[in-house]
Amino acid sequence: MITFDRVSKRYAEGHEALSEVSVEISQNELVFLTGHSGAGKSTLLRLIMLIERPSRGQVIVDGQNLARIGNRGIPAHRRNIGVVFQNHQLLFDRSVYHNVALPLVIAGYDQREVGRRVRAALDKVGLLARERALPITLSGGEQQRVGIARAVVARPRILLADEPTGNLDPALSAEIMQLFEAFNQVGVTVLIASHDLALISRLHHRILTLRDGRLVSNRA
C-alpha cells in the first residue's frame, strides 16, 4: 500500500532528514514508526502526504508513484489519506460537527450524506453527544478523538498519525491506540509515528525504527 524505495530527503539548509529508506507497508497493516525526535518520523509522513517531496528515491502510495503527481493533484491525493496530528489541527471557530465535516465538504458531499457520515464517525470515537460543542471546551483526549473522527470520516484507505498520543496520559493513549486498531480491523492501512515505546511494544504490530534518518530496525 505504501512503498519507500531508497528514499532520501535533504532539506535546503543541508540537513539530511532521511537517508536511503526502503520499506514496504502492505494493505490492512498497522505499522508503528518510532525513533527519537528528529530521527525523520515526521519527514517520512510528510513525504506520504506530499507536504514534502523526496530528494532521491521513490514513494509509491496505493499503486501511484507520487513523483507523477503534480502540484495540482496534491489535494486529490490528500483526500485519499486520513491524517491525525499531534496538535489536533482543529479549527476553534467552529463546532465539533463542522470540524469533522470539513473533509466531506471539501470532497463535495451533499449535506444529508455529510450529516450521516459525520455522526457515524463521531459515534465511533464516542463523541456523538458533543457534536455541537466547540473544540476549545473539550479535553485533550476528546480533541484528539475529534481529530481522529475527521481523519476517518471520508473513509480513506490509509490513515497516518503523527504522535497522536503525544500530549495524553497513558490510559487515554491506550484508548486512542485501540481506536486505531479498530479502524485497522475494518481494512484501513494505518501508520502511526510515536516515540512511546512502552505503549507500542505492548501492541504486537510491526515497528519501524529510524535513527538519524536511517531505518535501523524493521521488526514484527
Partner: protein, 324 residues
C-alpha cells in the same frame, strides 16, 4: 466482508454520470455556503465593513458623479449644438427682388437644409414687439434693419466654415455671421473634461482594487491556520480561494451600493437650486441622475472590482500559505 468494503464497492458501481452530478451539486453547495458564510463574516464586523464600504463608495461615487455632471452638461449643450446656423445680413443696396432671388438660390443648394427669409419690415416689427421700444422705432423715418436670411446647413454637408466663406463673398451679403467658435471651444472643453473624468475614474478604480486587495490580504492572514488545515485535509486551491473571492464580492457590491447612494444624495442636494436656476433662465432643464440601470451598473462594477481585488490578493498570498 466488512461494512466498509461493501460500501466502497457499492460506490464503485454507481455510474460516473451520477458521480459527476454529485460533484457538481457539491461544488454548487460549497459556492452557496461560501457566499453565505462570507456575507455573515462581513456583517459580523459591521463597523469595519461599513468603513470599507464607505471608502469604496466614495472612491466610486466621485467619478460616477462627475460622469453624471458631464452627461447633464452634454444634455444642455446638445440644445445649442443642433446644426449651426448662418445669419446672412443682406447688403442695404440689395433690393427686395435680389433678396428673394438669393433666397431661392440657397433653397436649391443640396448642402443647405433650410432657409428662412426675414424681411427688414418683419424684423422691425418683431424688434419693436420684443424690445418695447415701439415708440422710439416709430419715430425713425426709415428702417435701419437689413433683410436677413437664416441658413441652416444640411447635417451631412461638409464643414460649415466653407459655406460661410463662400456666402461671405457674395456681393448681396453684407455680413455672414457664424457663431461657431464658442461652440467648438465648448465641445473641446467637454471632451477634455470627459477624458479627465475617465483618467480620474481609472485611477480611482485602480485604488479600489488595491484597497480591496489589501482588505482581503488581511482576511487571508487572519485565517492562515484555517487555510493550512483545509489544505492538509485535501482542500484544493479553488476551495480555499472561494470564500475570499466572495468576501471581495460582498465588499465591492456594498461599496457600489454606497456609491449609488452618495450620487443620488448629491443630486437630491443640488436638485432644487438647479431647478430654480433653470426656471430663471426660462429653461425646462432637469438634472438627470444615474437612474436605476446606472445605479445597478455601479453596484455590478463594484462587485467586479471586489472580485478583481480579491483575486489579486488570493493569487499573491494563498499560494504562500502551505502546511509546514
Amino acid at each position: 466482508m466488512s461494512a466498509l468494503d461493501h460500501k466502497s464497492r457499492r460506490e464503485g458501481a454507481s455510474t460516473s454520470r451520477a458521480r459527476l452530478r454529485h460533484r457538481f451539486n457539491g461544488w454548487l453547495t460549497h459556492h452557496r455556503l461560501s457566499a453565505a458564510e462570507s456575507l455573515a463574516r462581513v456583517l459580523d464586523n459591521p463597523v469595519s465593513s461599513l468603513l470599507t464600504w464607505l471608502v469604496i463608495g466614495i472612491a466610486l461615487a466621485l467619478p460616477a458623479a462627475l460622469d453624471v455632471a458631464l452627461d447633464n452638461a452634454r444634455k444642455l449643450s446638445d440644445k445649442w449644438d443642433s446644426p449651426a446656423q448662418l445669419s446672412l445680413f443682406l447688403a442695404a443696396t440689395a433690393s427686395a427682388d435680389e433678396a428673394r432671388e438669393l433666397h431661392r438660390e440657397l433653397q436649391e443648394r443640396p448642402d443647405i437644409a433650410a432657409v428662412v427669409f426675414v424681411s427688414r419690415e418683419e424684423a422691425l416689427q418683431e424688434f419693436s414687439l420684443l424690445s418695447g421700444f415701439a415708440d422710439v422705432l416709430d419715430s425713425l423715418d426709415n428702417n435701419p434693419l437689413p433683410d436677413l436670411l437664416l441658413v441652416t446647413p444640411a447635417p451631412e454637408a461638409g464643414p460649415v466654415a466653407a459655406l460661410h466663406r463662400e456666402l461671405s463673398a457674395d456681393p448681396r451679403v453684407a455680413e455672414a455671421v457664424l457663431d461657431m467658435a464658442w461652440l467648438e471651444r465648448l465641445n473641446t472643453l467637454m471632451e477634455l473634461s470627459r477624458r479627465m473624468v475617465l483618467a480620474l475614474g481609472g485611477v480611482l478604480v485602480a485604488g479600489v482594487v488595491l484597497i480591496l486587495g489589501n482588505t482581503i490580504r488581511l482576511a487571508i492572514e487572519s485565517r492562515r491556520e484555517e487555510i493550512v488545515v483545509v489544505k492538509l485535509v485535501g482542500g484544493s486551491n479553488g476551495f480555499v480561494r472561494r470564500p475570499f473571492l466572495y468576501t471581495g464580492l460582498w465588499y465591492g457590491v456594498g461599496g457600489g451600493f454606497f456609491a449609488a447612494l452618495l450620487v443620488a444624495a448629491a443630486l437630491w442636494f443640488l436638485g432644487e437650486p438647479v431647478a430654480r436656476l433653470a426656471e430663471l433662465y426660462q429653461s425646462s432643464f432637469e438634472l438627470g441622475g444615474l437612474g436605476i440601470m446606472g445605479s445597478l451598473n455601479l453596484v455590478v462594477l463594484g462587485g467586479l472590482l471586489g472580485l478583481a481585488g480579491a483575486w489579486l490578493a488570493v493569487s499573491r498570498h494563498l499560494g504562500r500559505i502551505a502546511p509546514r
